[in-house]
């Protein structure tokens, strides 16, 4: 806690922005986010859009995995649920800005059903249940989407004459929804519900005995995670001309889990941010660089080797993720040159 800052109310103490530096940081960050289209070309702007979409999804998984400690391997399927619901509604002529929240809610409903096993299961059993769920949902997608492609009609993507599906409107729409998602996630994290999730994660037996309805908390953690996954799916439908179930397979779920575990489980915003930046966006950029330098199959194998190695490595050496590494680095810089 920086010196010279005193809080007068309890409310101030748990505010999101507690110190002047927080305000400055938030303002600068927002400014950067808003000006990004000016700073970079259209391709990087679209890359940023896909970054934001997956950030929303990862924030959701970070609540399920990081806060509540429930391993979920069905996150990509939940995202798919959101995308399919959006596609279905858009087909029916519903505006996409209406469809996206509905997508979130329907994915949340599905997640709630998936959470039912978590009432009786923990740890490895839950991981297996969600794995089964991932395959079952994938199978159902394949049945309802036999063409492996559902187009999202452009007509649904208009807001007062502005086409939201590309360029700046796409970027700002995604950014706005992402910011709201992140703020609500932070609020949930600092609420009693968020604390109860952490309690369930740290010691679910004791949590039950000290008065936490563990079933309820687990279910709600899963449901909230599902909501954000669905939201990401809806955003994805906005960004994309069409969806196919092959985009929401187990590999996607593992990648999501990797982003949470590498970035920083339990650090909803910054952990997810770093995870997506490194695992998804960073990798896309790296792949573009590598593709010109080395033989493609080596690059392809590297994808598996590096992502897998990082997941295992972080769990063994730094379970708190990249965010903890950065924090230590920051502390080191702060104290430099006196290392004590």
């Amino acid at each position: 806690m920086p010196a010279g800052v005193f809080k007068e109310t309890y409310g101030e103490e748990i505010a999101i922005f507690r110190y002047p530096i927080h305000y400055a940081g938030a303002a600068l960050g927002l400014l950067f986010a808003l000006m990004l289209p000016i700073l970079v070309g259209p391709y990087y702007m679209l890359l940023a859009v896909s970054f934001l979409i997956f950030l929303v999804g990862t924030v959701g998984l970070n609540i399920t995995v990081g806060l509540a400690g429930l391993i979920s391997l069905a996150h990509a399927a939940l995202m798919g649920m959101g995308a399919y619901v959006t596609a279905f509604l858009a087909e029916k002529g519903v505006n996409i800005l209406v469809a996206i929240p509905v997508a979130g809610l329907s994915a949340a409903a599905l997640a709630f059903i998936l959470a039912l096993p978590s009432f009786r299961l923990k740890g490895y059993y839950l991981a297996m249940a969600s794995l089964a769920a991932q395959f079952i949902i994938e199978y159902i997608f394949a049945l309802i989407d036999p063409d492996q492609y559902v187009p999202i009609p452009d007509e649904a993507k208009y807001l007062g004459g502005i086409y939201l599906g590309r360029g700046l409107p796409l970027y700002y729409t995604t950014l706005a929804i992402t910011i709201v998602s992140i703020l609500t996630a932070v609020n949930l994290g600092r609420s009693i519900l968020g604390r109860a999730m952490k309690a369930v994660r740290d010691n679910d037996v004791a949590a039950e005995v000290v008065g936490i309805n563990v079933y309820y908390v687990k279910a709600i953690a899963f449901t909230i995670g599902g909501f954000y996954a669905g939201l990401a799916g809806g955003l994805y439908a906005l960004y994309s001309s069409g969806i196919g179930w092959e985009g929401f397979t187990l590999e996607g779920s593992i990648e999501y889990l990797g982003m949470v575990l590498i970035g920083g489980p339990g650090r909803i915003v910054w952990g997810s941010f770093l995870g997506v930046l490194l695992v998804r966006t960073g990798w896309t950029l790296l792949e573009s660089t590598l593709a010109d330098l080395i033989v493609s199959y080596v690059a392809a194998a590297l994808k598996y080797l590096i992502l897998g190695g990082m997941i295992a490595g972080f769990i063994i050496f730094e379970p708190e993720g990249l965010i903890a590494v950065l924090r230590r680095f920051k502390e080191y810089l702060r104290l430099w040159p006196y290392s004590y």
């Binding site: 303002a27 289209p37 063409d147 700046l168 001309s241 069409g242 985009g247 392809a300």
Partner: protein
């Protein structure tokens, strides 16, 4: 509280200012016209699957594409009006993940400004088929779904799956009139289902009888294949259509031999190639064949088809051995070759002004004009607006009793029945 309000007001102000600035910044005036230079660079995107679920064929296909691009680039490409063209390509492996494919496509489009994409399978081609219309980017792929023939910017070298299947049916009718056919394919996979309606219609028209329609999973084990075969065995089919990929089709052929089903299996183009010999094994010799619009490279060499020397030369120049040149390599090579031929027919000014649209126009000009010729490796291709069916001709390749591939045909599509149209109308 008051302090918070102040900050919020500040932030809102910043948002408004920046957003306004951003919008203004992006209203750039259109780029001015330039004079035709000595040399043009054409940007091409290459999407491949070299690590995903279809990589068993995707790797060879990608090699073929790259070998062709390198070869023609070095040999020199000139447009119709004599301007030298240099190809510059960006390759990305999307591992059959449509999400990734879209990301890479947007990279191609917005970062590199490609005017054509050499794509791969159902996952990327179908997904991008609407986007490319807006972006005016020509998309040449190895997904031969009939649906794509109606899309203005999708092209491929051989006939579509439905037409290919109809060619097979027509061949059966010519060899054995009134034959009984059983269908084995994955009922929930777009690629496998795609030609089924056309097959049924063609069979009816040609007096053949479809006696069974059984699900055979794409991810099959011997157990699945045997179960499927057992379900058709007492229907006594003369021919079995296998609409899947090579693993499950070769398992089906084995199961047929095991269960003593005396019929010939005809596989879809992705269900049968050089590997079938080993994967089916001696017990299936003489009982399995595949539809192929392309002449297998090994056969092409035996028959001295002129085009194969070009392909081999390109492969060697790119550092591949002759054994690398298989059917899939050839398919990739031909896709790239089609693009090169289109560039050679385009007017340099049109190419500069209209990009992909100019390529689309010359490709479609072949409808009435000169066809794209591939020196005998595949039937010459013509594309008509709204109907991009390159040709209506394919071979049937039999794995004969000696374990050698034997070319039958070329066979033409049945008269008076529009197989692609049937598939498009059925919505698959």
């Amino acid at each position: 509280m008051a302090q918070n309000t102040k900050y919020i007001a500040l932030i809102v102000l910043v948002i408004v200012v920046v957003a306004a600035a951003a919008f203004m910044f992006f209203q750039k005036p259109g780029a001015g016209k330039e004079e035709a230079p000595e040399k043009l660079t054409v940007k091409i995107g290459v999407l491949t699957d070299e690590t995903g679920p279809t990589s068993d064929v995707g790797i060879s296909y990608a090699k073929g594409v790259l070998a062709a691009l390198k070869y023609f680039n070095e040999k020199g490409i000139t447009t119709k009006d004599g301007v030298k063209v240099e190809l510059s390509w960006v390759k990305r492996d999307y591992a059959y993940n449509p999400t990734k494919a879209e990301e890479f496509y947007k990279e191609f489009r917005d970062k590199y400004g490609v005017i054509a994409v050499l794509g791969w399978g159902t996952a990327d081609t179908e997904k991008l088929s609407d986007t490319i219309i807006n972006d005016k980017i020509v998309y040449i792929s190895a997904s031969y779904s009939a649906k794509l023939t109606a899309k203005p910017y999708n092209f491929f070298v051989p006939p579509d799956y439905s037409t290919q299947a109809c060619i097979a049916i027509s061949w059966i009718a010519s060899v054995k009139p009134g034959a009984k056919i059983a269908l084995l394919y994955d009922h929930k996979v777009a690629y496998s289902r795609s030609p089924i309606d056309a097959i049924k219609a063609a069979a009816q028209q040609l007096g053949l009888e479809v006696v069974a329609d059984v699900d055979l999973p794409l991810k099959a084990t011997e157990a699945d294949a045997e179960r499927a075969v057992l379900q058709i065995v007492d229907k006594n089919p003369d021919y079995v259509w296998c609409g899947n990929t090579i693993t499950s089709c070769s398992l089906a052929a084995k199961a047929m031999a095991k269960q003593g089903l005396n019929a010939i299996m005809i596989s879809n183009v992705w269900g049968f190639d050089e590997r079938s010999k080993d994967m089916i094994g001696p017990e299936g010799y003489g009982k399995a064949m595949g539809v192929s619009p392309f002449i297998y490279p090994a056969i092409a060499r035996q028959q001295n088809i002129p085009g194969i020397n070009l392909v081999l030369e390109a492969a060697r120049a790119a550092g591949y051995s002759d054994t690398d040149v298989n059917l899939r390599f050839l398919q990739g090579f031909l896709s790239a070759w089609l693009l090169v031929q289109a560039i050679e027919r385009v007017d340099s000014q049109a190419l500069m002004d209209k990009g992909g649209e100019a390529l689309k126009e010359v490709l479609e000009a072949s409808c009435q004009g000169q066809a794209f010729d591939f020196q005998g490796l595949v039937a010459p291709a013509r594309f008509c607006p709204g109907r991009h069916i390159a040709s209506e001709q394919a071979y049937l390749v039999l794995l004969n009793e000696n374990g050698e591939f034997e070319l039958k045909g070329p066979q033409s599509a049945p008269e008076g029945i529009d197989c692609a149209q049937i598939t498009i109308q059925a919505g698959g």
